[in-house]
Amino acid sequence: MKVTENDVTYVADLANLELTDSERQRMAKDLNSILDYIDMLNELDTSNVEPFAEVASKFAGNQSSGSERFAYAMRADKVLPGLPHEAAMQNAPDTDGTYFKVPKVIEK
């Protein structure tokens, strides 16, 4: 058993999930079976292998070097119209018309 129900509770807490008792049991069981399978990766010696970075880096401006290669990803420093306030608020669960409203932030 790699993952106990306590571990699930700890990780759920990090992920802002609560989970019911039965969910915690089920998740511990599932995570263990998936992680056992993932252990297969330890068969491979990767001590001299660089971690994968990004697919497109191979194709980004081959002539230049370093971060220059990604120059195409930068846009001009120019102000453009953004999402209008009204559009940004249209899906708000709770709002006073200007801001998003949330329950009390400071506990106790």
């Binding site: 993952v3 699930v8 990090l14 599932d30 990766l41 497109a56 899906n91 506990e107």
Partner: protein, 478 residues
């Protein structure tokens, strides 16, 4: 008018030659959706107002004798992970039940600019996490070839709607096989372009280093037309590559004589269904007959792709899905006394079981003390996988494999065992990890009438070769 297997070319021609109107065509498709979709469940929402507005715009162009764009009047459907302005966009999740997208996904906007008529939004696994469409927060999709079977996933609605003639073409997304696997299960063409080929602006993110947008169509030529419309640099997505978009349609039907096609041993090992094997071997024979050189190759790390994927994808998902906190949009649990309680309860009540499972696995893999053992290890293995493909592509022009180990399985057959479900993607998932393009083409049926797909994998940004070889496979299979 027979719309069941209508291609993009036919639809556009009929509109252009005034054999029908874009409006009448859209009406026919809505009628078919009304008649068929209660059995299949492909659509989550219909966008009639937007569709008919576009259709009448096209009809005015025809009446004026104006030049018509590439997809003029072509009825299409959109996977619900792609944002459509002012139309409910749920990603198949209850947490986004009433979410109206504030802007359009670039791929959707490009289709519409090219004259496509957007019929509606298509069902999928919640946040594109699944291989059977059974993880939809709304309802499952049934395979049009056998309603007791799954259409595949996560783009199940996108595949099933084309297969059932409820759209001429659709868009889906592929993170671990979610375009190619359902295309194989439903007997249609499904293309995952190279990473960076198509802008992801407006795609609800699952795993950002793996997510791709691509088309479902009846034919290889239609897939080439669709990619030509949606591909190319987008200033709104910094990961979209600045690589020229060639004429993909010109590659369709070009002779394949002298091309080298790699066939990897590892994809024909134990566990491959005998009817799938026979159909795929028939495609290999067809290509040989057309003058291709078939080269046996080896991709020894293939079996490590699924474990690698379930670390990388879940780690990225745990981060991407942190934004669903009930503050600015999406579901908010009622009556929480504190902010923290609101976050937790909103996510607890809004997410389904598979999404929670993946968030937990990803959070675990990234958490203190485990990062090196899991995430970093997986990223190193990913480099090994990429190297093996580089070696292979030094020898061959394209690689041919089965798309899936089996034909479509029964609804409910694999829902109790997540690992067994994950293993369904064993032949598709590596291309996502390596960023190369892949296409699934129908290559036959089982005795029971279930479609079988053959997959072609190509070099980065070499979709042209895929279209060329895929059209030869398609020609021989039809």
């Amino acid at each position: 008018m027979n719309i069941e297997r209508m291609t993009i070319e036919t639809a556009r021609e009929q509109v252009a030659r005034k054999q029908t109107t874009a409006t009448a065509l859209a009406e026919s498709f809505y009628k078919r959706i009304e008649a068929e979709d209660s059995r299949i469940g492909a659509y989550l929402a219909l966008s009639r107002e937007r569709a008919f507005a576009k259709a009448s715009e096209i009809d005015r162009l025809v009446a004026d004798g104006a030049p018509l764009p590439a997809l003029a009047g072509v009825p299409v459907g959109i996977k619900d992970v792609l944002m459509t302005k002012d139309i409910v966009t749920t990603a198949g999740s209850k947490i986004l039940k009433n979410f109206k997208a504030p802007y359009d996904c670039t791929a959707v906007a490009r289709l519409e600019r090219a004259g496509a008529v957007i019929l509606g939004k298509l069902n999928c696994d919640e946040f594109a996490m699944g291989s059977s469409n059974e993880n939809s927060g709304y309802h499952p999709v049934h395979n049009p070839h056998d309603l007791t079977r799954v259409p595949g996933g996560s783009s199940g609605g996108s595949a099933a709607s084309v297969a059932a003639g409820m759209a001429v073409a659709t868009l889906g997304s592929d993170t671990g096989g979610s375009i190619r696997q359902p295309a194989a299960f439903c007997g249609v063409v499904g293309l995952m372009p190279t990473y960076g080929r198509v802008s992801r602006y407006g795609l609800i993110a699952f795993a950002s280093s793996l997510d791709h947008i691509g088309p479902f169509t009846h034919t290889v030529k239609d897939a080439a037309i669709m990619l030509g419309v949606i591909a190319g640099r987008d200033p709104l997505d910094s990961t979209s590559a600045d690589v020229p978009v060639p004429d993909y349609v010109a590659e369709v039907g070009r002779p394949v004589k002298g091309m080298k096609i790699g066939v990897p041993d590892e994809y024909f090992a134990e566990g491959l269904d005998s009817e799938v094997r026979a159909a795929v071997e028939k495609s290999i024979d067809d290509l040989r007959a057309a003058g291709c050189e078939i080269v046996r190759i080896t991709l020894p790390s293939t079996k490590y792709a699924i474990p690698t994927y379930y670390i990388v994808a879940t780690a990225e998902a745990s981060s991407n899905l942190a934004r669903f906190d009930g503050v600015r949009y999406a579901y908010r649990a009622e009556g929480a006394a504190t902010l923290s309680e609101m976050y937790r309860r909103s996510r607890d009540e809004g997410f389904g079981a598979e999404v929670k499972r993946r968030i937990l696995l990803g959070t675990y893999a990234l958490s203190a003390g485990y990062y090196d053992a899991y995430y970093l290890k997986a990223q190193r293995v990913r480099t090994l996988l990429a190297r093996e493909f580089e070696t292979a592509f030094a020898q061959v022009d394209a690689i041919l494999t089965p798309t899936t180990p089996t034909p479509a399985f029964k609804l409910g057959e694999k829902t109790n065992n997540p690992l067994e479900m994950y293993l369904n993607d064993i032949f598709t998932v590596t291309a996502d990890l390596v960023g190369i393009p892949g296409i699934s083409v129908p290559c036959g049926k089982t005795r029971a009438g279930l479609p079988i797909g053959v997959q072609l994998l190509g070099k980065h940004f070499d979709e042209g070769t895929l279209f060329r070889v895929a059209s030869a496979v398609e020609h021989a299979a039809s």
